[in-house]
């Protein structure tokens, strides 16, 4: 166990002090000493653990899992969970004001730690499938299965509120509706309307205004749960507090996207993508995230300067039209092993007009408007607008091809997928590999099939804009 914690960036004296908590949490999750040995091997295989920044990142998530499992024992009287929700700053404002409040995104934490790091997520998914998110052709999203499975298995405390959003799907709100009806867990849905027309693009005022109203309603609901007022000043503070973290992540992304060789494996992208959201859980997480990303930023720059990377210099570059895989590093690892540089994915939040990572700049009149900037990201746009942003991102990144990685559990993503593929192929004039995949379920990984497809894809890659 000590060795695992060191591998995850923990150092004395914190390591000794934290050990009993980790042992307690592992015990509850059924992680044995044999498992720990396999986990260490897994981390060395899939992650650049030679980098301190990476080890610190792994440690942040691991600690997040332990804090979540032990939240009630830690004296947290108000436990709040989010799944695919927004307005994290509302949560972090509450957590900052009161030690009684705890906030987490259990699916994201468990998919990364129990899934990607430990390879032990499947029993959680199976538990959900025995309830209402059944397996089979209906293809329920495994991100939701994770939350449901954790709750029905009693692996995490019952929350005082679970919130989600309807920005992208109806399954998440339906799941929280049923959590409320069946288990009496209070639920809240943040909403807007997915009715933007391409003629309005990139303007999103109408849907943003609706989102702002929903954000205010969310804050009111949170006030009822935590028992104190959430002021605009508290939210501005939270928005300000994240700037250092967002800046670090943005610079790391820039280096990854434009450096040659690709500095680190894409298996790490999901860890970076989820940091801002998970920073809502407590101030220590935010501090730790800033520290880890600062270290990683320096290390990534050094690797590029030395010509050290996850793939060789000059490797073909690709963009993926889907967020990184959350619960299984094997596909990202395979892509890297095959010498392909996956330089960016849509989960890194691509924004109009050029598929960059910065939302359209404007001066928000209040923090709620500021928090609603995420609504501009490609995944939440209309199909035509989403395709435009991806095409522009492909041009900006000078890729040689694109990976149309389709998360079949999401109706929006899968519904768009064939048209997105068409747009990428026709408008970029580059090879596209279309892969249907459940983005949160490691059971779907088929190594030999994927390897064959990627081998063929790689032969088609050179000669694109990236090599011109």
């Amino acid at each position: 166990m000590i060795e695992l914690l060191r591998l995850c960036g923990f150092e004395e004296p914190d390591l000794e002090a934290e050990l009993p908590r980790f042992e307690e949490a592992f015990n509850r999750l059924g992680i044995t000493s044999e498992d720990v040995e396999q986990i260490k091997q897994r981390l060395r295989t899939y992650y650049n653990v030679e980098l301190l920044g990476v080890r610190k990142l792994l440690g942040l998530y691991l600690e997040g899992l332990v804090n979540l499992v032990l939240a009630r024992e830690d004296g947290k009287t108000k436990v709040i969970y989010g799944i695919m929700g927004a307005f994290d700053e509302v949560c972090s404002a509450c957590v900052s004001k009161s030690d009684d409040v705890y906030m987490s995104f259990p699916s994201e934490i468990f998919e990364i730690v129990l899934g990607s790091m430990f390879g032990k997520l499947v029993p959680v998914l199976e538990a959900a499938e025995k309830a209402w998110l059944r397996a089979g052709t209906v293809a329920h999203c495994a991100n939701l299965k994770t939350l449901l499975g954790l709750l029905v298995s009693d692996l995490i405390p019952r929350p005082d509120l679970v919130f989600t959003s309807g920005f992208l799907c109806d399954t998440a709100p339906k799941t929280t509706d049923l959590l409320s009806e069946i288990y009496g867990i209070p639920a809240f849905v943040q909403d807007t309307c997915q009715d933007r027309e391409i003629s309005e693009y990139p303007d999103a005022k109408r849907t943003t205004d609706l989102m702002v109203k929903s954000a205010r309603r969310f804050a009111k609901r949170m006030e009822e749960v935590v028992g104190f007022e959430i002021t605009d000043e508290m939210l501005w503070e939270q928005l300000e507090a994240r700037k250092a973290l967002m800046g670090n992540i943005s610079q790391i992304r820039d280096l990854i996207e434009h450096g040659d060789p690709l500095a680190i494996s894409p298996t790490h992208y999901i860890y970076l993508e989820n940091l801002p959201r998970l920073a809502a859980s407590n101030s220590e997480f935010l501090r730790g995230a800033v520290e880890a990303t600062s270290i990683l930023l320096d290390e990534v720059q050094q690797r590029i300067d030395k010509g050290v990377g996850a793939v060789d210099r000059g490797a073909p570059r690709i963009l993926s039209s889907h967020p990184a895989l959350a619960s299984d590093p094997r596909l990202d690892h395979l892509i890297t092993e095959m010498g392909i540089a996956l330089v960016a994915n849509e989960g890194g939040a691509l924004f109009p007009p050029d598929g960059g990572h910065t939302p359209p700049v404007f001066e928000p009149k209040d923090p709620y408007e500021g928090m609603s900037m995420s609504l501009h990201m490609s995944l939440l746009q209309s199909l035509r607008a989403r395709a435009n942003i991806l095409v522009e991102a492909g041009k900006r990144l000078k890729v040689d091809g694109t990976l149309c990685l389709t998360h079949v559990g999401c109706r929006t993503v899968v519904g768009d997928s064939l048209m997105v593929k068409r747009a990428l192929a026709e408008e970029l004039g580059l090879p596209v590999l279309y892969i249907e995949y459940e983005g949160f379920d490691p059971r779907v990984y088929n190594h030999e099939k994927l390897k064959r497809e990627l081998e063929l894809f790689k032969t088609m890659l050179h000669g694109g804009v990236g090599t011109q």
Partner: protein, 384 residues
């Protein structure tokens, strides 16, 4: 008599619409789900046509080139009809009003917008149907729709015209409800298949003509002496929709010895159960009538309890002895909700069978066997 008149009207409908188009009248298609007020389209002088065809596997297969199989067969069928170019209603649309309801129908709108070969208005439907600012948003979108239709048709939409249209459609909904309620007793004065077909006809026929036919049928039904006994079990069908042409399930239930006596689907109870209160600002009246007052679909927020309570009322009022949950393949919200319904109905000793449809023939044998077993089970009725 009315049946023949209606049949003849529908046969001539395509030609009459073509003629109307020559005279500058616009045909406005809209996707079903009960959130597009036909009244606004009618008030613009255009002809509203609901795109509700389904049940045929060919358009579903045709759609696979642009929509993956994870999208429901009804939504695929809508996309497929435009690809096959065989269905005149889908071909003659001048404009589409696409309500942004479930993710599947939203995708139909997205794909047609991507293709860009048809004028489109996306009508945002707030999924939190009971909220204050959501209702305001819907009112605003209805006003925006009216403005778009005015510009598109060149006709002014007045409050008076909308009020007249509400009156007409209220008569339509009222007649359908009256007919439907006649099925609360045995034997049924009208078969469910005939009733559903009448309901579907209302989406394509001239609304004035349809109201006249429905009211005439109601008058005759009231005086009709129904003879014979009906011993067969009475079934409530719950599901996202029964498309125009998707009649196999009703036929199979009948063949298995039971009768669907009431259907809680978009093109059923949810459409005609409530009237629009035709007072004050017509846009607010329509918004309230369509968004707030109607039974929500499963994709709506916090809808499971309300939908269950309504189903329990139907079970009592229609003397139902079993519930048939008829969901379309890949319909994720109905699939989730089926667990809740089955759990709650089990507590009340009400049997429920869950069936999935994909419009194909491969599973008909299996469905038939399961239905027969279910009907045998419910023959004894419910012991409350």
């Amino acid at each position: 008599m009315e049946g023949e008149r209606l049949e003849s009207h529908l046969e001539e409908r395509i030609d009459s619409l073509r003629e109307a188009k020559k005279n500058g009248i616009k045909v406005i298609g809209y996707l079903p789900g009960n959130y597009v007020p036909e009244e606004i389209i009618l008030a613009s002088g255009a002809v509203p046509i609901c795109l509700v065809d389904g049940g045929d596997i060919r358009p579903v297969d045709a759609a696979l080139s642009v929509v993956p199989r994870q999208i429901c067969p009804f939504a695929q069928a809508q996309v497929g009809e435009r690809i096959l170019r065989r269905n005149p209603y889908y071909e003659m649309m001048d404009m589409l009003v696409a309500p942004i309801t479930c993710q599947h129908l939203r995708e139909v709108a997205e794909i047609w917008e991507y293709d860009g070969d048809i004028e489109m208005f996306k009508l945002g439907i707030p999924h939190n149907y009971g909220g204050d600012f959501e209702l305001e948003y819907y009112v605003d979108r209805l006003r925006a729709l009216a403005e778009r239709l005015q510009a598109f048709t060149g006709n002014e939409i007045t409050d008076g015209k909308i009020g007249d249209a509400i009156e007409l459609y209220n008569r339509m909904r009222g007649s359908l409800r009256e007919l439907s309620l006649m099925r609360s007793t045995s034997p049924l004065p009208i078969s469910t298949l005939d009733f559903v077909k009448l309901n579907h006809a209302s989406y394509y026929a001239d609304p004035g003509f349809m109201v006249e036919v429905l009211e005439s049928i109601c008058r005759k039904m009231k005086g009709k002496q129904v003879v014979g006994e009906m011993e067969s079990p009475r079934v409530l069908l719950v599901g996202p929709n029964i498309a125009n042409g998707d009649y196999r399930i009703l036929e199979l239930v009948k063949e298995a010895g039971a009768e669907v006596v009431i259907e809680e689907v978009c093109e059923g109870v949810r459409y005609y159960w409530n009237l629009v209160d035709n007072k004050g600002d017509p846009f607010k009246a329509l918004a309230k009538g369509y968004l707030e007052d109607r039974l929500p679909c499963a994709f709506m927020r916090h809808s499971a309890r309300k939908r269950l309570d309504f189903a329990l009322k139907l079970i009592r009022d229609f003397n139902v002895s079993g519930v048939l949950w008829y969901e379309l393949r890949q319909c994720e919200t109905y699939d989730s909700e089926s667990y809740f319904f089955e759990r709650e109905l089990n507590k009340r000793n009400i049997p429920m069978l869950i069936l999935e449809a994909d419009y194909g023939m491969a599973d008909v044998g299996q469905i038939k066997t399961r239905l027969e077993a279910f009907i045998e089970m419910v023959k004894g009725g419910i012991e409350y």
